[in-house]
């Protein structure tokens, strides 16, 4: 025999599920533009007929379901796409960061629209040429000296600008590391909350969204891998090191350290193996020694590399010119881009430059100037990484910066395209579609109306039994 109010219960569960569906739809629409929000759905299942009360047991063939049960409200999220998104985001962050740094470097050395080291060097050669026809004339030797001074000043200007850029990047590194440490703290905190909510069978959807958002951000900084512990908590690894180990509830804080002329990012357990993300770009810029790198050193063409190029140029140029001017008659002093300057003796007397090797120099004799011009046209080995003339070396520096920037630009664009495509795929799954939600409003609204109608029908049935039955002739 069927219990009297069975239908009421079924209809009630229908009302409840429609109500819940409408609520979730409302929630989805409300948070449609919220960052990191994943679309939620109501999971429902059939409530089976089951009773141990034989009094009200239905006959076998008449068993019907008991309506619907609201299991839980879940979010639509694809783990695989998350992983892919984070990898792509790390790529994109790395290349776009490297691009912005290389743009600054190449802006400094670029001579397409204005003059720089190359122009200063060319001016020096031109003045030396003019001087070769006017040796002994203090006006012309003065010109040679002032253009030589321009070279030294440009070198130290370049070096200083690069140094500033490098300091900014170190600052930026420390800001990034603070941000990363904050994120790690938040993720670890969220881990605990999610675990707690799960323990009480509550749905931690919003907490999961926040944690995913933090993980997305973290992925922009470096190459993270994520391990799921199954209890709602996750571990975060970089290389072989755990930054967050939820099993032992430990968080490893990042810090950076200056070792010699390079910087390293490390935790208490040792140096981190950072292979991607904006931290990698920062470290490459700060530590990259390019062609100068010994084995084991960072061989990216970073700011350090360009500083070393300038130093190599300064050292070789000074050595060559001093040697050409004769023993113990240095034209320049200093050995690095930063310290190189016109020697005191040359500064005092513009004619200190040796024009001839004759024992009794006379105006007009120019054999040594011609020798300088010929020697400056010759290939020299500069810093063990380049064989060519000095102006070719300057061109190499411009080319290195320009082609590195251009390369980074290409990589940024292609990684951006990949990121966009993955982001679109992810959004298609987890994002809120207004069309779909509008259909849901109609669907749940109609379901609510229909369940109410069932209640009314049942009510009328009972009304018939209670109020009208057995009332014949009354």
């Amino acid at each position: 025999m069927r219990s009297s109010f069975l239908g009421f219960e079924i209809a009630k569960s229908g009302l409840q599920s429609a109500q819940a569906g409408l609520d979730v739809t409302g929630q989805n629409i409300a948070k449609m533009n919220a960052k990191g929000y994943s679309r939620q759905t109501v999971e429902q299942s059939t409530d089976y007929y089951a009773t141990n009360n034989y009094k009200y047991a239905l006959l076998n063939e008449n068993k019907i379901g008991h309506g619907v049960t609201l299991d839980r409200i879940t979010q639509i999220r694809d783990q695989f796409l998350d992983t892919r998104y984070r990898e792509a985001f790390a790529d994109y962050s790395r290349y776009s960061k490297a691009l912005s740094i290389m743009t600054s470097v190449s802006n400094l050395v670029d001579e397409t629209l204005r003059d720089g080291l190359g122009a200063a060097y060319e001016e020096f050669i031109i003045n030396l040429q003019t001087f070769s026809m006017n040796t002994g004339d203090i006006d012309y030797s003065g010109l040679v000296r002032s253009s030589a001074q321009k070279i030294t000043e440009t070198l130290s200007y370049y070096y200083n600008q690069l140094e500033k850029l490098r300091e900014q990047e170190v600052d930026d590194l420390s800001i990034s590391i603070n941000d990363i440490n904050d994120l790690l703290e938040r993720i670890s905190g969220l881990n605990k909350e999610i675990q707690f909510e799960k323990l009480f069978k509550n749905s931690p959807n919003e907490l999961l969204d926040t944690r995913n958002l933090c993980l997305d951000q973290l992925a922009g900084y470096m190459n993270i891998t994520i391990e799921d512990n199954g209890d709602g908590t996750i571990n975060v690894k970089v290389g072989s090191q755990y930054l967050i180990d939820a099993r032992s509830d430990t968080v490893q804080k990042l810090s950076y350290e200056e070792i010699g002329d390079t910087y390293a990012v490390k935790t208490e357990s040792g140096e981190l193996e950072i292979a991607n993300g904006s931290l990698k770009a920062s470290l490459d810029a700060i530590n990259g020694k390019g062609d100068f790198a010994a084995s084991g050193e960072n061989d990216a063409k970073g700011i350090l590399y360009f500083q070393m190029l300038l130093d190599a140029f300064a050292l070789n140029f000074v050595t060559k010119m001093n040697e050409l001017n004769g023993a113990d008659k240095p034209l320049f002093q200093g050995t690095t881009a930063l310290t190189i300057e016109i020697s005191d003796a040359w500064l005092k007397d513009a004619n200190y430059i040796t024009t001839t090797n004759n024992a009794e120099p006379k105006d007009g004799q120019n054999d040594n100037i011609l020798r300088m011009l010929a020697e400056l046209n010759k290939d020299v080995s500069i810093g063990d990484i380049f064989i060519g003339t000095f102006d070719e070396f300057i061109l190499k520096m411009i080319l290195d910066a320009g082609s590195e920037e251009s390369y980074m630009n290409d990589l940024t664009q292609s990684s951006d395209a990949i990121l966009t495509s993955i982001d679109n795929q992810r959004e298609a799954a987890k994002g809120v579609s207004l069309n779909e939600e509008t259909v849901n409003i109609l669907k749940y609204q109609r379901a609510f109306e229909a369940s109410s109608r069932i209640l009314t029908a049942l009510d009328e049935m009972l009304d018939t039994i209670i109020n009208r039955m057995g009332a014949v002739g009354r």
């Binding site: 629209l113 006379k362 004799q365 011609l370 069309n435 509008t438 259909v439």
Partner: protein, 320 residues
């Protein structure tokens, strides 16, 4: 998702439009080295080439000026030498009287002074006959009216000093142990001693006749002052040899001048080529640029128009 992608595309188109605008305004194919490293590298090399051509052209202009000055001075000396030969011939023919011979002697002394001033000619404050030196004056005479070169008696030199003053004119300047390789540069040193001397010796021959014009004139003048017209033939022969030498030098200056002109012409055409190449590499063809700009502008406008239709509608707009 739609709006995010739309915004991205819109920004991309706008950025391209902006880039194109800058390039059309600047008439350049690229604004920064990184925009096109390969072309930029070529353009930088051409830029250097043009700068060097300019240097060599300047050097050649200076050389031309000096050569012109040489030409004038040597032409002067040539005229003087011709005059001297004529005068001495006249004095030696035995029919001239004592006073005439003495007048010739005096004239010769004056010519000596003229030669001296021609030898001390200057181009823009530089003495030009001092070999590799421009200080001066390089020539003077001693109390015996004998020629001095930087204070040193020319008659006493065992051999004429080799002097060079090279100028780089783009022949691929080379240097070995501090000595310029001769064929890789232009030598503008002209030795005044060489001009006035035959053979390698500037002293006297076994008959006591000087190989050097200036001292030779002095010797002839000495003889004529003493009205000694005997044995003048040897002197006259030497005089004629030297006259021949001066003429040869005059011709060789002309040849050098021609070479310099040829080099100037060559550099001019090299420069035209290089500038054309630079334009090809760097300059944006205006018509091409504007067409491209218009295409981008069209794309941007289309993008904007599409946005108005794309961003608005959803099912919500069609429900009552």
């Amino acid at each position: 998702m739609l709006s995010k992608n739309y915004l991205k595309n819109l920004n991309y188109t706008l950025e391209k439009l902006n880039n194109m605008n800058t390039r059309v305004a600047a008439q350049r194919k690229y604004m920064r080295f990184a925009d096109d490293p390969a072309t930029s590298l070529k353009a930088m090399k051409i830029r250097k080439q043009i700068s060097r051509i300019e240097v060599y052209k300047n050097n050649l202009n200076d050389i031309q000026g000096i050569l012109d000055q040489y030409e004038t001075s040597i032409s002067n000396i040539n005229d003087i030498v011709k005059e001297i030969v004529a005068q001495v011939m006249q004095a030696s023919n035995g029919t001239s009287g004592e006073s005439v011979v003495k007048t010739v002697a005096e004239t010769l002394r004056n010519y000596q002074k003229d030669i001296l001033s021609a030898l001390n000619a200057k181009y823009a404050d530089d003495y030009i006959f001092g070999g590799d030196k421009v200080e001066g004056p390089p020539f003077s005479e001693n109390e015996n009216h004998e020629l001095l070169y930087f204070g040193q008696e020319v008659g006493g030199m065992s051999e004429i000093p080799e002097e060079h003053r090279y100028v780089d004119i783009g022949l691929g300047l080379k240097d070995v142990n501090g000595n310029t390789t001769p064929k890789t540069a232009f030598d503008i040193a002209i030795s005044g001693i060489k001009l006035l001397t035959v053979g390698n010796n500037s002293g006297n021959d076994e008959n006591g006749i000087s190989y050097n014009l200036y001292n030779l004139i002095d010797q002839i003048a000495d003889k004529l002052e003493n009205v000694d017209t005997s044995n003048l033939d040897g002197y006259i022969n030497r005089l004629q040899d030297i006259a021949e030498n001066v003429r040869l030098q005059y011709v060789s200056i002309g040849e050098k001048s021609n070479y310099v002109k040829y080099m100037q012409d060559r550099l001019d055409s090299e420069k035209i080529n290089a500038v054309n190449k630079q334009n090809d590499l760097e300059s944006l063809d205006t018509a091409e640029g504007i067409i491209e700009f218009t295409e981008l502008e069209f794309a941007y406008n289309a993008c904007l128009a599409m946005g108005a239709k794309l961003l608005q509608p959803s099912l919500l707009d069609y429900l009552r």
